[in-house]
């Protein structure tokens, strides 16, 4: 039962990365663009953003109900980067809403936009750093030692920081693809395709650097990678999809574009998880938190699954309806 809930957890995480990623990435993309282009991004993302945070909340709930020690360990040892991400989430969410609902005046809108853009970047970076710290294994359960070792070193290292950069690029890339498949003006389609292609190149480069940084921080990630057939397959598939994506960016098949970008993200997440499974949080000196050691008793897992199942049965149809009404009905209509 714990396995099933873990799979649901991964799916929620994946959906957060893809949908929330496009949303966070929107802010980053606005930062990379100017004037009209920047407005196009915000318009493409506006109608569905309110729903995206829920994936993160689901991840958190599954963790503290089903795998409580993962939740408490991560939030204790990684208090600082998590707090920084949260501050970012508050700022960007509020600024986005304020920008959308305030009276049309130039100055306040410009301020909200700046806050939204920079906090999107900031949040994404620290989410990546947090994830990196969970993978790396510099977390120590001995909280009595000095502050720096217990609460800073687990995340302030090359690997975690490079994960932060990787995450920023990944989210910006997702937003780029999302925007391309959302707009009609050929000039801007060209423009965003170009940005997306550049982001792909950057992603591949930084992706390689992540492995190097792991080596530098004493975590043989590459070695573990080549010994995990499933993650090799995932990463190879993600790479093979690249030329296809490149081609579709020229041909502009909107559905295909999104599917491929989603597929690649899925493969990256699968690849990562396959390397470390059944370890959920890597701990210094090998006392890793695994799926078995963290799982709450069977009765809990069952009720959790039941709640999630009912939730899915209610949520997915309504989510589908939301997308249908806004995304496919009439893509050129005004959203406001």
């Amino acid at each position: 039962m714990a396995e099933i809930n873990l799979i649901i957890l991964i799916i929620c995480l994946l959906l957060y990365v893809i949908l929330g990623g496009a949303d966070f990435g929107g802010g980053i993309l606005e930062l990379l663009t100017r004037g009209k282009a920047s407005q196009i991004v915000s318009k493409a993302i506006a109608p569905i953003w309110e729903a995206n945070h829920v994936w993160l909340i689901l991840v958190v709930v599954i963790l503290f109900v089903g795998f409580p020690s993962v939740y408490s360990t991560v939030l204790t040892a990684l208090h600082i980067p998590v707090l920084l991400s949260l501050l970012g989430i508050i700022f960007r969410g509020s600024a986005f809403t304020f920008r959308h609902y305030d009276i049309d005046e130039e100055r306040p809108k410009a301020i909200y936009s700046k806050i939204f853009q920079y906090s999107s970047l900031f949040t994404t970076f620290f989410l990546g750093v947090t994830l990196g710290a969970i993978i790396l294994g510099n977390i120590s359960l001995n909280y009595q030692q000095d502050f720096y070792t217990a609460f800073v070193l687990p995340w302030l290292n090359w690997f975690s920081l490079s994960m932060g950069v990787f995450m920023v690029l990944l989210f910006a890339f997702l937003a780029g693809i999302f925007t391309v498949s959302e707009i009609n003006d050929p000039q801007y389609i060209q423009y965003f395709s170009r940005i997306s292609r550049r982001l792909i190149v950057a992603l591949v480069v930084v992706g390689a650097l992540v492995f190097g940084a792991a080596q530098l921080n004493g975590h043989p990630l590459f070695f573990e990678f080549v010994h995990s057939p499933m993650s090799i397959v995932s990463i190879v598939l993600a790479t093979l999809a690249l030329p296809v994506l490149w081609y579709q960016l020229k041909r502009l098949n909107r559905v295909m574009l999104r599917l491929i970008a989603g597929f690649q993200t899925t493969m990256i997440v699968t690849g990562w998880f396959a390397i470390q499974f059944p370890v959920l949080v890597k701990i210094k000196d090998g006392a890793d938190i695994t799926m078995q050691s963290a799982a709450a008793p069977h009765a809990i897992q069952f009720h959790l699954f039941l709640a999630l199942l009912v939730g899915v049965l209610i949520i997915f149809p309504s989510m589908g309806y939301l997308y249908k009404v806004f995304k496919f009905d009439n893509p050129s209509a005004e959203n406001k």
Binding site: P47, E50, A51, H53, V54, L56, I57, V60, V61, I62, F64, V65, G66, P68, S69, Y71, S72, T73, V74, L75, T76, H79, V82, L83, L86, L87, I89, I90, G93, S94, T97, F98, H100, Y101, D102, Y143, Q144, F147, F151, A296, P297, A299, I300, H303, L304, A307, L308, G311, I314, I315, S318, M319, L322, V325, F326, N330, A333, E334, N335, K336
Partner: protein
């Protein structure tokens, strides 16, 4: 202490935004329904104006709620590690309800021109229902901390966990109705108060209509609230006698216990000065019998006392305001059914304006009553708050940061709303 304060500030902030986000959809739903029935475009404008307010409050409530789900673990990891599996079920349901609310709200806000009018109206209703449900689920989790159930505590670990029993613990029902009604009353009076002062300045039809809808909800809630409070108090007397004793600074166990109104409690001397005492009424409040014995704080070791003065003052404030709002509610009923000219009078509008913040003050006081009244326990009778604190030093800096952020947000939201109102006036004047 900083951790407790941070939790207090975060929850105190979230509770206001969540309450408004849960109640205002009902107002906008009624406004739209009225528009469909009467074809009066003022109702449509009102529904649209309110829906913008809902969007702002919902979004801020959602981010502050997301943050809270992390904060629980960042501040009280030991508590969450043990309690998470037990009281997590209402949270998972809450996730679903919240999700549904977000989706329905998205449809409502952006669907004015895309959805059939009826369908659009119903999405508003779904927002309201899902909001109330998610509120109730969260309250059920909080109630579990007051009345832990659904597990056996063996050597510092929970065993034989039964999440269903934990969710339907003995306190969930009384807390759920008391809180839901409080949210309706507080939001109703706040919205009514704002429209009252606007109406006083500009006699616009839209404010009058807004006033009536908000007051209708608020009045029903304010009249039901004392009954709900009575039920809640009896429940507390049964489940957490020390908390009840702290409400009333009731130090000695006695029969025909007096209801103490106001006054300054002194923990050391175990007495309350300058208070009005109504003999037997506390016995009646707690057990429904003027002669019943009510346990005093003396029955409990002092280290298990909640902070008496804070709990006492908060309880007095909550009850006092509750009574005052009930009075306004009766005046409104009298004005609606008999003395119609009252409702146009300046004193009435001014009275409503005075009541604008009162509901929320009472709501916060009530929340302090239940949270501070539970101390020193985080899980009543099982785990103490201090034993569940995060080992990370320097937590006060987290507290300062979070408080500052919430303060800024509160200012911006207030400012935004005032600008929205100006926008509305620009259309009519």
């Amino acid at each position: 202490m900083a951790a407790r304060m941070q939790m207090g500030v975060s929850l105190g902030f979230h509770i206001i935004f969540a309450s408004i986000g849960m109640v205002m959809p009902w107002f906008m739903f009624v406004a739209e329904w009225k528009w469909l029935r009467t074809n009066n475009p003022v109702y449509l404008d009102l529904a649209k104006a309110w829906s913008k307010g809902v969007a702002i409050f919902f979004a801020v409530g959602a981010v502050s709620g997301t943050v809270l789900s992390f904060e629980l673990g960042m501040l009280w990891p030991t508590f969450m590690e043990h309690a998470g599996p037990i009281f997590g079920m209402p949270f998972s349901w809450e996730g679903t309800a919240f999700f549904l609310e977000a989706i329905a709200l998205g449809l409502f806000l952006y669907g004015w021109n895309r959805l059939n009018k009826r369908v659009h109206l119903y999405t508003g209703l779904v927002v309201g229902i899902a909001g109330v449900l998610s509120g109730i689920f969260v309250i059920s989790a909080n109630a579990w901390m007051n009345a832990p159930a659904g597990f056996d505590w063996v050597n510092g670990h929970a065993e034989n966990i039964d999440p269903v029993k934990a969710m339907f613990n003995k306190a969930w029902f009384s807390q759920a109705h008391h809180m839901t009604i409080a949210a309706f009353s507080a939001t109703g009076f706040a919205v009514a108060g704002i429209h009252a002062i606007l109406y006083l300045k500009n006699k616009l039809e839209i404010h009058k209509k807004a006033l009536t809808i908000a007051l209708a909800f608020a009045s029903v809630a304010a009249i039901l609230q004392p009954l709900s409070g009575d039920h809640a108090a009896k429940n507390v007397a049964k489940l957490q006698p020390a908390k009840l004793a702290a409400f009333e600074s009731h130090f000695e166990t006695q029969e025909k216990a007096p209801l103490i109104i106001g006054g300054i409690p002194n923990e050391e001397k175990r007495e309350v000065k300058y208070a009005i005492k109504l003999p037997g009424f506390l016995s009646f409040l707690a057990h429904g019998d003027f002669n019943a014995e009510v346990k005093g704080l003396e029955e409990f070791p002092e280290e298990e006392w909640p902070p008496v003065p804070i709990t006492h003052y908060s309880f007095q404030i909550m009850v006092g305001i509750g009574m005052f709002l009930m009075l306004i509610a009766f005046l409104f009923l009298a004005g609606t059914f008999k003395w119609k000219h009252w409702l146009e009078k300046n004193w009435w509008l001014k009275l409503l304006f005075v009541a604008t913040p009162l509901g929320f003050i009472a709501l916060e006081a009530g929340w302090i009553v239940t949270e501070v009244g539970r101390q020193p326990w985080i899980i009543y009778g099982i785990m103490k708050t201090k034993d569940s604190l995060t080992p990370m030093p320097g937590i006060q800096y987290t507290f300062y940061t979070v408080s500052a952020v919430y303060l800024i947000l509160t200012f911006i939201v207030t400012w935004l709303l005032s600008r929205q109102i100006k926008l509305l006036h620009a259309k009519y004047l």
